[in-house]
Assembly symmetry: D2
Homo-oligomer: 256 residues x 4
């Protein structure tokens, strides 16, 4: 007779004299032996990254950390002025905004690449062209393509591609992304850039990051960027000026 | 006539063909050149860490990342089951709990060390002893001392001390912390361990991290740990069992 | 030549001597003249509710306020112990969990009823039966039907139906919901209860609440319930026991 | 031998055929019998309010609900555009900002009034004058006094005072607040208004609301106001314009 498996966690445990993390001794095996980035990979992938994987992951995390006054940063700044004694509230509030609109394309692009790869593996021909033409016919943006500010090309993408190549990690998914890019330009009749979040989706696949971890990696990256905003906010109190600007931008009316 | 300075940000900006971050070119100077940990230091301290500073910062971040089912992790797991489509909500919710109770001792210990150093610099004698005896007289715990689980000693502390020594960063604040530890045992009449958050407060001072950034660093560290919990939760749905356990632990009563 | 309309807000404004809220004088027209429930309706629907509408809205809000240790309440309790000085963090954290899983059926049920009504208005026959049989064929639950705890019937539903009838608000959508209920039992071959969130979705339509406001109304209702949990938590510190129960329920393992 | 009392909750429980809330039958005793405001009072105070208490509580809740584009509302609007599929995230984010800076004076003023009353009860003379002169000597604002926008007087305060008088609830704490107001003008040498949050702190004491529940009541009130902002935001997408205004207000600089 089969039994329901006992629910357990492999994440970690503290005992009086030790901390175990995923089967390792935190004190003697982890602290001082691995970087934060390597631990992040370990905690989500279950193994430590190779050196090339680590380099690519650091490049992706650094790419997403900081882009100035994003909505996430504006929220964190306003919150820092409202709840000054508990600064984690400002950072956590900013991270709540790392949602489907601003970060979701990373996993959407990765899922698209996985779906294309699966159809190719199943023997289907011409998959990339068919997928892109379907988006074009529905007038839907292809996940990972286009950018509001970076035109004609997102400058982060070729840099990430180059790092993948230099580290022997420009494999199947990066190749598929390049094929997608050609097909997109043809099907939409104009050049649409591969954006950084799309490139990162493909790179995460190359280094073995599960799709389920991708949003979390975006959040971790942005947490570091928001630390910088928090510090600047404590010095400048820009939140008060942003608030005044918001009120001036959206004036009150009684007209219907 | 002096003018009110114009409010500006140094954090970053995106233009069509570039991203500037704190005066650097993200594409050509940062991505691929620095690790996440180095960027975190740069975004909060304004300069890049030396190699020893980077090693110590990584050690501190790795120390705080993961300790199993903390309240923060339990909250993140319950939230992951309630808002599955937006996983940043689970991580951000867990980070809201990185507050005064669980993370505040890092900055409290750092502030205490800074205050002691300032009084010594002002020529006052016997400062450490007087400070500790004052806490003892008021029966208040000294920030950075004592631990609920790790007894008699927090095993993370000697490991962090050793890394500081090995990297030439066991300076004034680590020395003051060691003096505090001796005085605490004497004044309280029993051995009380320096805990990891206290040691990290001193280490952050050694590597030049401003007190205002310390909570943010704890949050960043824990964000990585919560990424691991999120992934495990998506596979195990422990949140449902935790919920049932909570209901069983706190039964309903109508007695007054 | 048409111009882009200037962006404005009708919500409210403070001036030195007055507060205007949606065209009304807060001091002389609103405070003391309307209840919280009436104001909630006014702020989202733009007009004040009739007395029957107010009674039904209060009934819906009271129905959702409090059900004991829901995940939302457990999260709020854990957070109250982690961030005791800023109690809004506990309540807001609990409210983050009022998401698609636990509250989304209210708007899903309302949207289903609107879609059915639109198809009937377009002259289509047998819409309710076809809709339900489609769900049954796909083995998908019909939004607003079924409940994990309340079996065979959610006791809140007949009470809400009765209040609608007593107040002359058992109109088209409540009638469609009753028809759905008959069709569900037939198509699924067993009795499945109309749950309270489904009934509330229909009732909100009856009283003119836009679908876009329904999640917000669930959140407002639960905010009141969490106020009660917060107070009890400050007295009992159940969060500590819940944390211990979570750790006991999900033990650490190193097995793979 | 005494035993540790078993931890229980009185908030509520769901069974297959009933919901019990604080010893009452939700279906037959609460839904349709009480308003949201009455339930809020019941869940935090343990008894139902008298009619005058209910009127005063509604007046306080209505006073705090909506004041236009507060930081809380700006945060909610930015979040609504970032996480559109889970609207509770926008409301909860806005509520996180109902913290010590913007809402804390309600409980601070209540605590001050309780402390004054206790000293008077202990036989001390001239307490109000001494308390205010102490604040004036330390150049600290008295909790509940002064307002950034409303000058010379917060127009909400006399309205709330009048409602208290009309309902026989202008008791000891409202009287003490009036005495404080006279002493403040004298000690600070100029007229400083009693603001609405201060008046509400006194009114909450008059109707028996515990200090521990006051922040929660502010949060509940504002949740209703944010529901209105959420709806307007879904129609206007002001978040995009507010974001642009924030970037224009805080331009990027590389100067040091």
């Amino acid at each position: 007779m089969s039994e329901r498996p006992i629910l357990t966690t492999r994440t970690g445990i503290s005992t009086p004299t030790a901390v175990r993390v995923r089967g390792r001794d935190l004190i003697n095996e982890l602290i001082g032996h691995y970087s934060y980035t390597e631990m992040l990979y370990f905690l989500t992938c279950g193994v430590f990254p190779t050196q090339p994987q680590r380099i690519v992951l650091d490049a992706c995390l650094v790419t997403l950390m900081e882009h100035g006054l994003t909505p996430s940063a504006v929220i964190a700044r306003l919150m820092a002025d409202s709840v000054p004694e508990e600064p984690q509230v400002a950072i956590a509030s900013g991270l709540l905004a790392i949602g489907s609109v601003y970060a979701g394309t990373t996993e959407s692009c990765a899922e698209l690449l996985l779906a294309i790869a699966a159809r190719i593996d199943a023997g289907e021909a011409d998959v990339v062209r068919k997928v892109v033409e379907d988006y074009a016919a529905r007038r839907k943006p292809v996940p990972g393509f286009g950018h509001g500010t970076h035109k004609p090309d997102d400058p982060r993408t070729p840099r990430l591609v180059r790092i993948a190549q230099d580290n022997g990690l420009h494999g199947r998914y990066m190749q598929l992304l390049a094929e997608l890019a050609h097909a997109v330009d043809r099907a939409f009749g104009r050049h649409i850039t591969v954006n950084a979040t799309g490139a990162i989706g493909a790179l995460f696949l190359e280094i073995g990051v599960p799709v389920a971890a991708m949003r979390a990696f975006s959040v971790v990256s942005r947490a570091g960027g928001l630390a910088g905003h928090l510090l600047e906010e404590q010095a400048t109190h820009s939140g008060r000026s942003i608030w005044a600007a918001a009120k001036a931008t959206v004036p009150y009316t009684e007209e219907t």
